[in-house]
């Protein structure tokens, strides 16, 4: 979505975080089951995305990036400090596993693997459709030339908000899976670094098609395994990994700014 609409949002982790926290609270505090919690997570993130979208999408360029960045930090501060609800920096432990249809408990690596694979498959399918559809075309058009889009009668504010909201709700779903799988969440998973990390994964892979972000994600996930394979101790590996991400980003911007598999150059 970043690539399609050329909206470089540094706030993705905020939506991811809201999704995760709503899930945690729905499952734990409210004791809801699978579908109601997913829906609740999506709906609340969606509402938040619409508000954020209305505010920030009127801005352009650096201002938009700054606005999303500001929202990211505000959300983090709230998660970190609204102790009554979020338990602040201690996080929410013991999130119960969600129950599918009331009785099948989704628990353990296998079933989560299934759920997240299913979600990923649905996401990929969904995005693939969207990109190939007239809506995807409109987003590309918006990216290329917004003035022409207006002259062709397109409501570009609406388009931007739609794309922003859709991508945010996927962040919410990821938040849901993460929270219910790990069964413990704390605010540090949803800070600015996380947002920058998400953005780097996307940009390394490339944007404008579905292949790019997937390759980016694979790169980001495979790299730590590779480093472990090489035999780096864990204490160094974490930093080493980030150094490699950073360098990759610099090198890719220099020589292939459309990313490894993407279409669009920034």
């Amino acid at each position: 979505m970043v690539g399609l609409s050329n909206l470089l949002s540094i706030g993705q982790a905020a939506f991811y975080g809201i999704g995760a926290y709503v899930t945690a609270l729905a499952l734990k505090t409210l004791g809801l089951s699978f579908f109601p919690s997913v829906i609740l997570a999506i709906v609340i993130t969606l509402l938040f995305a619409i508000i954020v979208g209305y505010i920030s999408l009127k801005m352009e360029g650096d201002y938009f990036i700054l606005a999303t960045l500001g929202i990211q930090i505000i959300v983090f501060t709230i998660l970190n400090n609204w102790i009554a609800v979020t338990m602040g920096p201690y996080g929410i432990p013991g999130i119960p596993s969600p129950k599918l249809f009331g009785y099948i408990e989704i628990k353990g690596i296998e079933s989560f693997l299934m759920v997240s694979t299913a979600f990923s498959a649905i996401t990929i399918f969904f995005f693939h459709r969207l990109i190939k559809s007239p809506f995807g075309r409109d987003l590309k058009g918006l990216r290329d030339d917004s003035i022409s889009m207006i002259a062709l009668g397109k409501n570009i504010t609406k388009l931007k908000i739609q794309s922003f909201v859709i991508s945010s709700s996927f962040a919410a779903i990821s938040g849901f899976i993460y929270a219910s799988y790990i069964s413990y969440i704390d605010p540090t998973s949803y800070n600015l670094d996380e947002s920058i990390f998400i953005i780097s994964a996307v940009l390394i892979g490339g944007t404008g098609n579905i292949k790019g972000p997937i390759i980016g994600a694979i790169f980001v996930v495979a790299l730590p395994e590779l480093l472990r394979f090489v035999g780096l101790p864990d204490s160094i590996a974490a930093n080493m990994r980030m150094i490699i991400y950073g360098l990759t980003l610099v090198i890719i911007m220099r020589y292939r700014s459309q990313g490894l598999a993407g279409v669009y150059k920034f």
């Binding site: 559809s133 809506f135 590309k140 207006i150 062709l152 009668g153 409501n155 609406k158 279409v263």
Partner: protein
């Protein structure tokens, strides 16, 4: 007697000349401008450099706001354009060709032509997910329409037809401008605003473009309002000619009358 499709009444537009936001001076670019464009005609707007021709078009498209005055668009009903946001003016049936190449370089040629369509999704992106069949159908219809339009305008063997699935960025400058023109045939426009349709195009193609514009009026029932610097082109193409000078229309009539006028010639050349 044809009725007027567009009436511009007492239009004023001034800019502050303090380029840097320091409003020390303002000057009136358009002052008390009145134009009526008769339906189903080709009208040309001429005038020297920086006399406000493109500014007027941008006001008509809604990209700039006039200071005062009214613009009436008469279609099935009369609309005062001042109240209408830019993108909705297109819905009323007003198309626009920009002076420079406003084309979508990362889309294919075909996509560039059918992007104007708004019926497929009706503004709902999820149509594409849940209503695949209908979307596919209407895309097919659009593709066919695009192909037919090109074939009709340029003949069945035109090279654009073999380039439909190429990226628009791979086209030559002239071809990109043609795409902009063809796109105007894809929607049911009543009025099209063409800002220098021949600019940057190989002069050998001028006659051809002139024919296309005439076709817009004769076959598609559009009304054409164009800005042009090439006077030969104006003579050949337009029915009416408006000479913009000092913020208002100083002379209007048939191209031969306006262009033959010594006052116009002198002013245009800055005597």
């Amino acid at each position: 007697m044809a009725r007027n499709i567009l009436e511009i009444k007492e239009l004023y537009k001034s800019f502050s000349k303090g380029k840097y936001g320091k409003d020390d001076e303002t000057y009136n670019l358009l002052s008390n401008l009145n134009i009526s464009i008769p339906e189903n005609t080709i009208s040309a707007l001429i005038g020297g450099n920086a006399t406000g021709k493109t500014t007027l078009f941008n006001i008509l498209s809604g990209f700039l706001k006039e200071d005062s005055g009214n613009i009436y668009f008469h279609n099935s009903k009369t609309t005062n354009l001042s109240e209408i946001p830019p993108y909705k003016r297109e819905h009323l049936g007003i198309g626009r060709l920009f002076q420079d190449n406003h084309i979508f370089p990362t889309l294919t040629v075909l996509e560039n032509l059918i992007i104007a369509d708004k019926n497929v999704l009706k503004g709902n992106p999820f149509e594409a997910i849940f209503n695949v069949k209908r979307v596919k159908e209407s895309e097919k219809v659009l593709t066919q329409k695009a192909t037919e339009t090109i074939a009709h305008l340029f003949g069945k063997s035109h090279e654009l037809l073999s380039k439909l699935n190429d990226k628009a960025s791979s086209l030559s400058f002239g071809q990109k401008r043609l795409i902009g023109l063809i796109r105007l045939f894809m929607s049911d426009y009543k009025l099209v605003l063409l800002d220098e349709p021949t600019a940057g195009i190989n002069p050998a193609l001028n006659d051809f473009i002139s024919e296309i514009i005439k076709q817009m009026v004769l076959e598609n029932g559009m009304t054409v309002f164009l800005i042009e610097h090439n006077m030969n082109f104006v003579r050949k193409t337009a029915h009416n000619c408006f000479f913009l000078d000092n913020g208002k229309i100083n002379m209007q009539g048939t191209p031969s009358k306006v262009l033959g006028n010594e006052f116009v010639q002198k002013n245009y050349l800055g005597v």
